[in-house]
């Protein structure tokens, strides 16, 4: 199986075509094909995982000629290592659960088949992305994912609001993809004319790349990651992407696609390490800085949201910040472990939000929810587990991964970023406790009569909740367990130092999480929030306004940048094209017509006029050339 990972992407690719062309005529309108393909993917991925774990765990590259251009042979193929295997398992597992969930959640949707087709195409694109052996294949998967994201955000395209969200997501990520393409090109030449990931990594490790090229390539690719993984300052598309159906938000905008940027950083870690001097640490670098900024600013934004999906999306941005920062401080394994853990608990939270909205017909935590713990016990329990994991409550998976980020940042000498991570935990505890409290505690404020969701919805929730509880134990150094790092961490990533005994980050993380939850809980009970606080203090009121306006970044992008680019286009069309260039053309045509009319008055047609003119010009120019010689 290690040589045949491509089969994992083949299954959903075929399924996509089947659903697209025949889905509507099938009894389950295509859902059975999608779910069948996802099950196949998961089975194959698990088979691959078993093969990998039981092998000697050397990366396997199998490739074939794709095409020749000039003197270069471009190959296509798969790169299978621990990182690929881990990603494939996550993608196929979450895809399967989301599709099962969607079969119920989207049942009454008029574009049910279309929805399943695009979900399936997404899984194909993502799985081929993570197994790519070269950077071009990565670009293919990367862009097809963006397209699926666009189509799914705009799933209900009758509403202009949804279309705007879809276009914004596509254009913002595409803006950063300028970096992707330039980065690929630069690394192609830097790595001695190769797109091969393995070759580029080994060239970067060997130090044969000139530092200028390496820096240019790494910077460009990091820009790509910033857009895709919704990092500051390009994070603004992700909250607006919540316009799409909830299950796809869980899959694409929480668990899988948005981590593609982080995956890129991890996959080409030697390039970023070489360019930004991540290790040995102690200094600072753009990756860690951007990650740290993102953690804090988006966690703060989550406090002022009323839409549960918006809270969760800012939370996703913040957690992606953790992953990016972890890469930036050289905590490679911790970053990947957090990616792994986050996939479960964030998908769980999104699907939980979906389950709630399925019941209360809305997403507003103030107006539609409250007191749901009684009426929706399964959803409540699983959502509580997901929230606790997000905060990092021991012993849920989020605790182990976050604790490892903090610990490794310390080991590598990045003390400041350690503190940011801990601050992030405090903020996370605050916003998610607020959200959870408003959804499930107090009295029901909505007009609906809530009820627990059917099995197709709750079963995926329970499975994800179980995974959230147990998956953290794949890497629990204090218990002497480090399966995840044994299986996933490749030779080019920094090795993990397993400290014996309990360090201070371990204890601090436990305490901060619990304190954060406790304080917020008390505040919620006393109805203290951003709104009440800003009534008491002008400074806080200003801060609140800043948050509600999302730091005015959207205003900057949409009102200033986009608007002026369009205005520039209108000016180009009106003044340069029509007035200037065409002005000259029309004037000279008029002049030619006047002079031509005198010379060839006998002739009636204009075509003849110009034919004559042409031959005159020809003869003249030819004469000039002969004379010049």
């Amino acid at each position: 199986m290690l040589h045949n990972a491509w089969l994992i992407a083949l299954a959903p690719s075929i399924a996509f075509i089947v659903i697209l062309f025949f889905g509507k005529r099938l009894p389950q309108r295509g859902a059975e094909v999608g779910i069948g393909a996802m099950t196949t993917m998961l089975a194959l991925s698990l088979w691959l995982a078993v093969d990998w774990v039981t092998s000697d765990r050397q990366q396997v590259v199998s490739q074939h000629r794709w095409f020749d251009v000039g003197d270069w042979v471009i190959r296509v193929g798969t790169l299978t290592d621990g990182l690929t295997v881990m990603m494939l398992v996550v993608v196929s597992l979450i895809s399967l659960l989301v599709q099962i969930f969607s079969a119920e959640y989207m049942r009454a949707d008029r574009r049910f088949t279309h929805f399943f087709a695009i979900l399936t195409l997404f899984s194909a694109a993502m799985s081929s992305f993570v197994m790519s052996a070269n950077t071009i294949q990565m670009a293919v998967g990367w862009e097809v994912m963006a397209l699926c994201s666009f189509l799914l955000i705009g799933h209900w395209w009758e509403e202009p609001h949804n279309v705007r969200g879809a276009a914004k997501a596509l254009l913002t990520t595409r803006l950063s993809d300028v970096g992707l393409f330039i980065g690929i090109v630069v690394l192609f030449f830097a790595g001695n004319k190769t797109f091969s990931i393995v070759d580029i990594n080994s060239a970067a490790t060997a130090g044969t790349i000139s530092s200028g090229l390496l820096l240019a390539g790494a910077t460009a690719l990091f820009v790509a990651a910033i857009g895709k993984s919704a990092q500051f300052p390009l994070h603004t598309w992700l909250p607006d992407a919540m316009a799409g159906p909830t299950p796809m938000s869980a899959l694409i905008h929480a668990a899988t696609m948005v981590v593609a940027g982080v995956y890129l950083l991890a996959r080409l870690f030697p390039v970023f390490d070489g360019a930004f001097d991540i290790l040995p640490g102690g200094g600072t670098n753009p990756i860690a800085v951007i990650g740290a900024i993102t953690i804090v600013i988006s966690a703060l934004l989550a406090f002022v949201q009323h839409d549960v999906k918006k809270v969760l999306s800012y939370s996703t941005v913040s957690q992606l910040g953790y992953m990016v920062m972890a890469i930036g401080v050289g905590a490679w394994t911790a970053a990947m472990f957090h990616l792994f853990a986050h996939a479960f608990f964030k998908a769980l939270l999104f699907l939980g939000a979906g389950s709630v909205s399925h019941s209360v017909h809305g997403f507003d935590i103030e107006k539609d929810m409250g007191g749901l713990r009684k009426t929706m016990p399964t959803t409540h329990l699983t959502f509580a587990i997901g929230s606790a994991a997000l905060v990092g409550v021991i012993p849920l998976c989020g605790f182990w991964s976050k604790e490892q980020i903090v610990a490794t940042a310390g080991q590598n000498g990045y003390t400041f970023f350690q503190l940011v991570a801990i601050l992030g935990t405090l903020l996370t505890a605050g916003y998610i406790t607020r959200c959870y409290y408003k959804m499930f505690w107090g009295e029901h404020r909505g007009s609906s009569t809530p009820h627990e969701s059917p099995k197709l919805i709750t079963v995926p929730l329970v499975i994800l909740a179980v995974l959230t509880v147990i998956s953290g134990f794949l890497e629990a150094p204090v218990l002497g367990i480090h399966l995840f790092s044994d299986w996933v961490t490749p030779s080019y990533a920094p090795a993990v130092h397993h400290e014996s005994g309990i360090g201070w980050p371990f204890l601090v993380e436990i305490v901060v999480a619990l304190v954060g939850i406790f304080v917020t809980w008390k505040a919620c009970e006393k109805r203290v929030g951003m709104r009440t606080l800003s009534e008491r203090s002008a400074v806080l009121a200003g801060f609140n306004r800043l948050l509600i306006n999302r730091y005015y970044l959207d205003a900057l992008y949409e009102q200033v940048i986009v608007r002026n680019v369009i205005r520039l286009g209108i000016h180009v069309d009106r003044y340069v094209d029509r007035a200037a260039i065409d002005g000259v053309v029309n004037a000279s045509a008029a002049a030619a017509k006047t002079s031509g009319a005198a010379a060839v008055a006998a002739q009636s047609g204009r075509v003849q006029t110009y034919a004559n003119a042409m031959f005159t010009v020809t003869v003249l120019v030819a004469l000039i050339l002969v004379v010049a010689q």
Binding site: W66, V69, G70, W157, A167, F188, V572, D573, V617, A622
Partner: protein
């Protein structure tokens, strides 16, 4: 050499004319007969093309095959020379395929004033001119075919066009005719100052390096202006949006898909190999103009309100990538240019078809009046969406490779302007972003959102059978070339490398 070998290219060039000749014998009232003859003639031409593609020796794709060499105008040593190599073959097949699509499409979509006989006959003559241009190996013969393209298009736009057709057709005519004047002058200069031949192969083997540098530059300049009008290169492009806006659908398709390719083809086939040193001197300017076209075209697209005009400006941007690829003078850049040409041929043809079909259904192309098309004609929306996505260069579809490898080649041009070209590369990549912006904006405004004015009170048909027959081959090729670019590159690579070798010799 078998009989097939010696006549197949001539058959490919003149079958359409023959079809037009037969049509001339029939009265114009017999519309169905004219449609049938035109379709049969174009299909027969396509069969000849497929025959060539099958019998073609791909192991020596750099050499001209199925060559014909007959005496023509002995006085000036101009010969009737045709042959096909890896550079011509893809473009010839593209021409044939697009013509067949147009003929199928015309079956139910004849433009006003409906008069099948002259319209289809002109289309067929147009095809002869295009195929002849791609196959001619004699400069004068090339010129004749190049001009044969011009007149049918002039009449088609002038007679069957929409608003402002007189202005548009005349503008088209003046622009291209003046361009041709420069080109002809350059050909004559090559003849008289060079080895007194019009034979392209001979000229390419003995580049005119003995000439004074200024003369070389002047001749190249003449060729460049001639070809640049057709490409079109900024700022010689303003005929194109007007012509497209006025032209009937199939004329727009032929124009965008095939005719624009004549210019870039001429540069690669004639200008670069015959005058490699002048090409090296011109390269930075070509690259600059290419990148200006990319950004300028994309910005102008943002301002357009008419679908066809928007697609026309997008052609300017796409051909900018072709120019950028050519200007690197490297094998990769030239391959990228050819790939982008073929891809743009397929994709822009589809976009013009779709725009035409929309206009036919709702009688408008104003983007602001459309909207919500997915609710009325979902399949047409899917097709449209596929083409838009291909047009902005989604990796995995044909539009990607040409643009990506142009950008890649610009990082490492053969000539010495490396630093400048790296900046051009960055600007081109940003231009590609603007390409996504206008494409997505057009798509969402036409296909998504609430049902617009145009669709509100109409029940429109979704994609018809006739449209499927015309479109599916193009759509399938867009996908196939995107997934498996070797299908084109394996044909063209050796021929391109041959040109690149001549150029790299000149830059040293």
């Amino acid at each position: 050499m078998t009989a097939f070998d010696s006549i197949v290219l001539s058959a490919a060039v003149f079958s359409p004319t023959l079809g037009a000749g037969v049509m001339m014998l029939l009265p114009k009232a017999r519309q169905r007969a004219h449609l049938t003859i035109a379709l049969v003639a174009s299909v027969f031409t396509m069969v000849a093309g497929i025959g060539v593609a099958i019998a073609f020796d791909y192991s020596s794709s750099a050499t001209g095959q199925f060559g014909v060499d007959l005496s023509w105008i002995d006085v000036i040593n101009s010969r009737y020379q045709l042959s096909v190599d890896g550079l011509s073959l893809p473009l010839v097949l593209l021409t044939m395929l697009i013509t067949v699509s147009c003929m199928v499409y015309s079956w139910f979509h004849l433009p006003e004033p409906v008069n099948a006989k002259p319209f289809l006959a002109l289309m067929l003559i147009l095809e002869t001119g295009l195929i002849g241009s791609f196959l001619a190996r004699d400069l004068l013969l090339f010129f004749v075919f190049f001009e044969v393209v011009l007149l049918p298009m002039y009449f088609i736009v002038g007679i069957w066009g929409g608003q402002r057709r007189q202005y548009a057709s005349l503008k088209f005519f003046v622009y291209t005719f003046l361009g041709s004047a420069f080109m002809l002058a350059a050909f004559l200069a090559i003849y008289f100052l060079g080895p007194h031949t019009f034979d392209m192969a001979q000229l390419a083997n003995s580049p005119l390096s003995a000439l004074a540098r200024t003369t070389q530059l002047l001749i190249f300049g003449g060729l460049f202006i001639g070809f640049a009008v057709k490409v079109p290169v900024f700022p010689l492009h303003t005929w194109m949006p007007d012509t497209h806006t006025a032209a009937p659908t199939v004329a727009s398709v032929m124009l965008a898909a095939v005719m624009l390719k004549l210019g870039a083809y001429g540069l690669i086939r004639i200008a670069l190999p015959i005058l490699p040193e002048a090409a090296t001197a011109f390269a930075p300017w070509m690259g600059l103009l290419g990148v200006v076209a990319i950004v300028y075209g994309a910005l102008a697209c943002l301002a357009q309100t008419d679908m066809k005009r928007l697609v026309a400006f997008s052609s300017l941007a796409h051909m900018g990538f072709v120019m950028l690829g050519i200007s690197t003078l490297s094998a990769v850049g030239l391959n990228a240019a050819l790939f982008a040409m073929v891809a743009h041929g397929l994709i822009s043809a589809m976009l013009f078809f779709v725009a035409g079909s929309i206009q036919e259904r709702v009688e408008t192309r104003e983007i602001s009046d459309l909207g919500g098309m997915s609710a009325r004609a979902p399949k047409l929306s899917w097709v449209f969406g596929f083409c838009v996505v291909a047009s902005f260069g989604l990796p995995g579809l044909a539009g990607f490779w040409g643009e990506f490898f142009s950008i890649l080649a610009a990082f490492d041009p053969v000539h010495s302007s490396t630093t400048g070209f790296r900046w051009l590369m960055v600007v081109a990549a940003i231009g590609a972003l603007l390409g996504v912006a206008y494409s997505v904006s057009m798509f969402t405004r036409v296909a998504f959102g609430p049902v617009g004015k145009a669709f509100k009170h109409l029940r429109v048909a979704d994609v018809t059978k006739c449209e499927y027959i015309a479109w599916v081959p193009l759509l399938a090729l867009v996908l196939m070339l995107g997934v498996y670019p070797a299908a084109l590159l394996d044909v063209s690579n050796d021929s391109i490398n041959k040109v690149a070798d001549i150029l790299s010799g000149a830059t040293k």
